[in-house]
Symmetry: C2
Subunit: 270 residues, 2 copies
Amino acid sequence: MARHFGAVPGVGEGATFVNRQELRDAGVHLPTQAGISGSAVEGADSIVLSGGYEDDHDEGVVIVYTGEGGRDPVTGRQVKHQQLVRGNLALAVSHRDGLPVRVARKLKRGGYEYAGLYRVDDHWRELGRSGFRIWRFRLVKLESAQPGQGPERKPTLIQRIVRDTAAARAVKAMYDHRCQVCGERLETAAGAYAEAAHIRPLGAPHHGPDTADNLLCLCPNHHVLFDFGAFGIGDDLQLLGLPGHLQVHPQHHLNPAHLEYHRSRYLHWK
Amino acid sequence: MARHFGAVPGVGEGATFVNRQELRDAGVHLPTQAGISGSAVEGADSIVLSGGYEDDHDEGVVIVYTGEGGRDPVTGRQVKHQQLVRGNLALAVSHRDGLPVRVARKLKRGGYEYAGLYRVDDHWRELGRSGFRIWRFRLVKLESAQPGQGPERKPTLIQRIVRDTAAARAVKAMYDHRCQVCGERLETAAGAYAEAAHIRPLGAPHHGPDTADNLLCLCPNHHVLFDFGAFGIGDDLQLLGLPGHLQVHPQHHLNPAHLEYHRSRYLHWK
């Protein structure tokens, strides 16, 4: 079964669980031991704040979470450097791709609480209090729906921050994270970085779909230029406003209506 | 006096004003006639929603605002195409630079209300109901401080969305929006686009300052690569992880302590 990112239907913020097994059964956090659920390919889908790391900070809206590894299993003390592998790399991938991470928090009175969805906002390494290198991840809470503020609130803010849907991930994988305009592939320690750009924008009043036929794999520079109408794409995939033509994978079928929508509203002719 | 962007001290959301002169006296919106306050160089600092345009949508959190120009001064009807000039261009510049825009709304019962800070999220042209071309701007409300959610809430979310402070604008102007790494300058109809990158990050736990000695002018691609530690900068301004050296203006004095902070925490050595 594919790893599930985002909220679990039926589990609201503040829901409590007696133990790790209940967190697992509810689908909030599947591993019963590890603090980070995820893989280096897909990213991390959930973490548990257990209060066990000497360097964690949990201020509710902003969490600084210490990565895993290098602890003595008996004393729980940091005895080795942490590496950017396994769960730590999964969280770095979630940062790269803007994935939502479910956060559960161990309660002082016992049990666990679902704290909501966060995005990984930053990651870095430093020397912990023990003198060993640790990886740290800054997580910022995503806007939750708030009664009385209108249905637009949640999707509008979240969709810009959490960029990576299944369709976006599929399109980026199809191009191996290479820009369809310039062929650039941005290499980071968390893997290659690319952006999925909507041709007809999401949200009111455009209501473009979040589907592969409305998505391009672009480097950040060409994403900005596309969104600001510095170039467009003809039905023959010729670039308009830039030399050359769009690189398109044989399995990637762009919808000409979306290309025309972008040209007519965004493209600035010289 | 420099144009003031952002909140006006002492004017809270929901504050009401009898007329346009009162809005002006309070510093919310200076022009007494024009709906858009701003310039093509600095961007737009405020708008008034007067309900006068046939194509405006105002849903509170998301506003689709129609640009200015092309209306018959007597009938108020659209009789010509709108151009991306003056106030319209100012709003496009606010989009490019992520500037906060004060929004005031004309009330049906008379008078005006300060609706808060918005960012321009998108701009495009289309044919209005009149058959003439209009420019449209999508504005999304910025998070306002909400009691009980902690002091981190406001700065954290706003600082990522509203990128452009006075220091950031000064650094981008110093380099004429050229990337200090590759020399790239992204040209759009709203002017050149660049990003101001903090060397030592803002916010907890890094607490880097928002000052020129901690800022670089980068293209979006090199901004991503820098934030993910794919390259760093030596004290001699040699790039580490990329060939070449950083272009630095003689008046731009980078703080070596910030460069070292970035190298020690973010730079991934091969």
